[in-house]
Amino acid sequence: MDLLKEEELFSSGHRACAGCGEVLAVRQVLLASKKPIACAMPTGCLEIVSTIFPHTAWQVPMFHSAFENAAATISGMEAAYRILLKKGKINKKIYFIAFGGDGGTYDIGFQALSGAIERRHSFLYVCTDNEAYMNTGIQRSSATPQFAHTTTSPKGEVLPGKLQPRKDIMEIIIAHEVPYAAQTTVAFFQDLVKKVEKAQSYDGPTFINILVPCPLGWAHSPSLTIEVSRLAVETNFWPLYEYEKGVYRLTYQPSQVKPITEWLKLQGRFAHLFEEKNKHLLEEFQKYVDEKYQKLLKKCELSEK
């Protein structure tokens, strides 16, 4: 697909921060998606930066109503579509996409998402995962990695940031027996585009989790967004993989896996881990990443047999 020839459906002039990974992801998804599209999103950064009245960055229908209900909203839109199609009031195929951040997906919107997937509505859910509540000022979510500093899991005299590892949303979504679920990130845009195409080849609910660096929340230079995104993959923190009809598949493997410190050191939220007293935490982090990756490899091997 020649994306350069595709119409831009997310206009420039929106209010996202310089180096925002989320709007890159949205733009890439919209470029890659089949058309026409109708979208929904929960309350959050994306909504605030793209739709301050009377302006909008969206060249496609976009609906926002509340924080915890993007999946229920897309359910209602898709249900309306089905009946209006049946009644002949609509006469074309429409593709439904919901965009939710990690807060609106892993946490407050989780129940609605689980329900909508179980009901087998036809939509693609895209989680733009920046690993914390950025819109409200960088609070920890269940997607925040262990040891990350956020404003509600601050590093302190006795605590090293967030105590718990992040939630594995992919496994939870896969447990719903979706036809397709995938994980990707903005630095690998061809991977992302392919995954959108694959997701939309299925009618049922599909899910793509996109790691989107947030310069403000992760405390890295806005010029490093793509680099930080790439290193998340090269260190195996964020393996690129997909789950398709029961089969796990890696879609990219780094030729040489880098140590996790390469990724961590670019981000202020992990700066405290490089203090002498926290050295053991870096080791723990590396161990977690390695184990998680090995588990994923096992799943890939097992499902290919």
């Binding site: 909008t56 109503s65 209602g76 909508a116």
Partner: protein, 389 residues
């Protein structure tokens, strides 16, 4: 056609004839039956509706909102905690001016947990921008549900139609129903000016509004509610003309010569009518006002109707927990504030959590009001209860 229907069945039947595009709902006592019966209509192919059996009431209202914004006619039903869980979305439905109809089977709100009737649930949503119409019985619920579709789509405001949990929802009575064709032609087609699925003319709906525009949106919405009563009157009038069935805004019963009256909402009006009859047989000139439209506040109706009343007992099926009476008492009282002859108003809280109210108890209220009629306002205890230990 005359049918035997419970309140829930009557509403479900009305919904079948309305044949909405989308129903998204979640079970909760005592409204569950509406959804159950409606799902059987779906299963039997008697309606075209897309039924979305959501995983919570919050999602039920979210899905209705999204469906209505997508150009579909959307309905739901709930009770109590379910309405409370929808609370956030109620404001969004009205703020987006989406004509959703919600059939509410009134039930108390926890805590303590109780599945029986009082009006705490709907009244707790009174400021959410929904039109609220209370029904005395299954017949009124049936007729009002059909009218609600028209009212919602004329006003661009969502409408809540309420019946008393168990008392009406689960009691069978004779109701007269219209033909499917009559309902279909009365409600017509839903044709919103904009919809999300018009992909050739994409709109962004639900944007953030900053201080430079938020206020204007709210002011416009308030104007919508200011105009709502006229539309309700028009729809009720048309319904009467077409089907010869009268739906009131504020029903008056034996009030012509009465100086002493009570005002209430919902099924208690039926009980109060018996009390009025009993007392009239004994020579007392007492009357009843049944308030049907709780939102918008029907000030001009109340002011006109209560002109000759000297003392009014306001029977309220909720405890406002305000230390100054419940919302019904305070609103009716406030409406009368500028009247030249200000009557005595007394709050009677009754029937919480489904406690029964009898004609005898209402007769006692009337007798109490009669004994207080000539006392100085200041000497009268305003906040009273019926049958509580």
């Amino acid at each position: 056609m005359i049918l035997a229907k419970t309140g829930n069945e009557a509403i479900a039947y009305a919904m079948k004839q309305i044949n909405p595009d989308v129903v998204a709902a979640y079970p909760i006592t005592p409204s569950t039956e509406i959804v159950q019966i409606f799902s059987s209509y779906v299963a039997d192919g008697l309606v075209d509706t897309e039924f979305v059996a959501v995983e919570s009431e919050h999602s039920a209202m979210s899905a209705c909102i999204a469906a209505a914004a997508s150009g579909a006619r959307a309905m739901t039903a709930t009770s109590s905690q379910g309405l409370a869980l929808m609370h956030e979305m109620l404001f969004i439905a009205s703020g987006l001016r989406l004509p959703i109809v919600l059939c509410l089977v009134n039930r108390s709100l926890s805590s303590p947990l109780n599945i029986h009737c009082d009006h705490t649930d709907s009244i707790a949503s009174r400021d959410s921008g929904w039109i609220q119409i209370f029904c005395e019985d299954a017949q009124e619920a049936y007729d009002t549900t059909i009218c609600a579709v028209r009212i919602a789509e004329k006003t661009f405001l969502p409408v809540m139609v309420t019946i008393d949990g168990f008392i009406i929802s689960h009691c069978m009575q004779k109701i007269e129903v219209l033909s499917d064709e009559a309902v279909k032609s009365f409600i017509g087609e839903y044709k919103p000016n904009y919809n999300l699925l018009d992909v050739d003319n994409p709109i962004t709906l639900g944007p953030a509004c900053l201080p430079d525009s938020f206020f204007e949106h709210k002011r416009a919405q308030a104007e919508g509610m200011n105009q709502a009563l006229t539309h309700i009157e028009d729809v009720f009038k048309e319904y009467k003309e077409k089907f010869n069935r009268k739906l009131s805004i504020l029903e008056e019963y034996q009030t012509n010569d009465a100086e002493v009256a009570i005002l209430c909402m919902g099924s208690t009006a039926g009980t109060a009518k018996v009390a009025v009859n009993n007392l009239r047989n004994r020579g007392y000139q007492v009357g009843l006002f049944k308030l049907r439209v709780f939102r918008p506040i029907v000030a001009k109706y109340l002011q006109k109707a209560l002109k000759n009343i000297k003392i009014l007992g306001i029977l309220e099926r909720m405890e406002g927990l305000s230390a100054f009476g419940g919302p019904l008492f305070n609103e009716v009282r406030s409406v009368l504030y500028d009247e030249p002859e200000r009557l005595i108003t007394i709050s009677y809280v009754y029937g919480l959590g489904g406690r029964e109210i009898t004609p005898e108890e209402i007769e006692q209220v009337f007798l109490e009001l009669l004994s207080l009629k000539n006392k100085r306002k200041k000497d009268i205890e305003k906040f009273r209860y019926i049958n509580v230990r």
